[in-house]
Amino acid sequence: MFPHERSLVKKLEGKPFALVGVNSDTDRKQLKEVLKAENITWRSFWDGGKIGGPIATRWNVHGWPTIYILDHRGVIRARDLRGSSLEKKVEEFLKEVPAGE
């Protein structure tokens, strides 16, 4: 899971892009160690320390991972893409961001 995310973040450094996680782990301490060990640099919401926490419930998430792409205006533009399809779509939406932002 992480290699794709890591490469995406690296590739798009300096561009108006953000990877934001919503994490459903139960052990916060252990998770911090995983973040360090796996060099996970992007931010994640801590979703109450359980599967089906408040954020996942609000977004009706039933399967993990669930991935949404939002454009620069905050509009949901795609869902459940992976790998190269995900990357392609992100690049598409990056082109929509007005220059200078």
């Binding site: 609000r58 792409i69 620069h72 949901i76 795609a78």
Partner: protein, 291 residues
């Protein structure tokens, strides 16, 4: 077949006593034995494809193998499913037939044989829990026979808990059909080709041609029907009313084209932040877990 033996004994009366005692017990290969052979053939096919897949060393090799596997499964799998249905048809009302019919749905869900199998389950085996269990597995990837069977189950004289599952399953299936065209559009060419081969371009084109607004309306109607009829019933660790509320919220707010609701919370280090902090950027929002 054993019927014939027993009837013969009755008809022949005393004469039957002269008949070799094994006559009534003589077992001809039953359709179930024949089915086991078909099952074995299918298992062997899958096994050999799995072996090739695990032996593949690169992603490119694996992608190529998925294509091959999909084609082979259709070429060899569909005739096996046809065979199974032809075999079971004269015995469709038997309890033992359910295993065969469920197998067809599980292994060749996109085949014409599956449509027949679903019809037979609807006709003879609505009360068998395996019918609901099997069709429930397809609510996120509905097949041509899925909704019809779910509706029949939802309306049938079944225990309440099963009717709830069937009705919610139908709502979910309708929602999935609404979402499928969008999902298909997001696939890369190679994957799309595979999906089209597996499920048939005709069926996918039908899904794509459906009116999403109409499907959304229908899905919402079904969810509301479920909440109205069964709101207080338990469903997993929530009530039907809660599940419906969440799904209606999702349908209303979390669809492609909708402005995402904001998220306020803490990060792993306990610092507060919001999703809207990243406004102006393209965001990949990733629900994940390390388990």
């Amino acid at each position: 077949m054993w019927y014939t033996g027993a009837v013969l004994v009755l008809l022949l009366g005393a004469a039957a006593n002269d008949a070799p005692p094994k006559a009534a017990d003589k077992k001809e290969p039953s359709y179930l034995d024949e089915f086991q052979k078909i099952k074995k053939e299918m298992d062997k096919l899958q096994e050999s494809l799995n072996k090739e897949f695990t032996a593949a060393k690169t992603e490119k090799e694996r992608d190529a193998l998925i294509g091959k596997a999909t084609r082979l499964m259709k070429e060899k799998g569909e005739p096996l499913a046809d065979k199974a249905v032809a075999l079971v048809r004269p015995h469709a009302a038997d309890k033992e037939a359910v295993e065969v019919l469920a197998w067809v749905l599980n292994y060749e869900p996109a085949s014409p044989a599956a449509n027949t199998a679903a019809d037979l389950l609807a006709k003879y085996h609505l009360k068998d829990p395996r019918t609901l269990d099997t069709v429930s597995r397809f609510t996120h990837a509905p097949m041509p026979w899925t909704d019809k069977l779910l509706r029949t189950l939802a309306d049938a004289d079944l225990p309440r808990g099963q009717k709830v599952r069937a009705l919610l399953g139908l709502a979910e299936s309708t929602k999935s059909r609404m979402e499928l065209p969008g999902m298909l559009q997001g696939l890369d060419q190679a994957t799309l080709q595979i999906v089209e081969e597996r499920y048939g371009k005709k069926y996918l084109d039908e899904l794509r041609a459906a009116d999403p607004a109409k499907l959304e309306k229908e899905a919402v109607r079904l969810y509301k029907e479920a909440a109205q009829k069964y709101g207080s019933e338990k469903y997993g660790d929530a009530t039907v009313a809660e599940v419906v509320e969440r799904t209606l919220f999702e349908l209303e707010n979390l669809r492609i084209g909708k402005k995402a609701p904001d998220i306020e919370g803490e990060d792993i280090d306990g610092k507060k932040f919001k999703l809207s902090d990243y406004k102006g950027k393209v965001i990949v929002l990733d629900f994940w877990g390390n388990w």
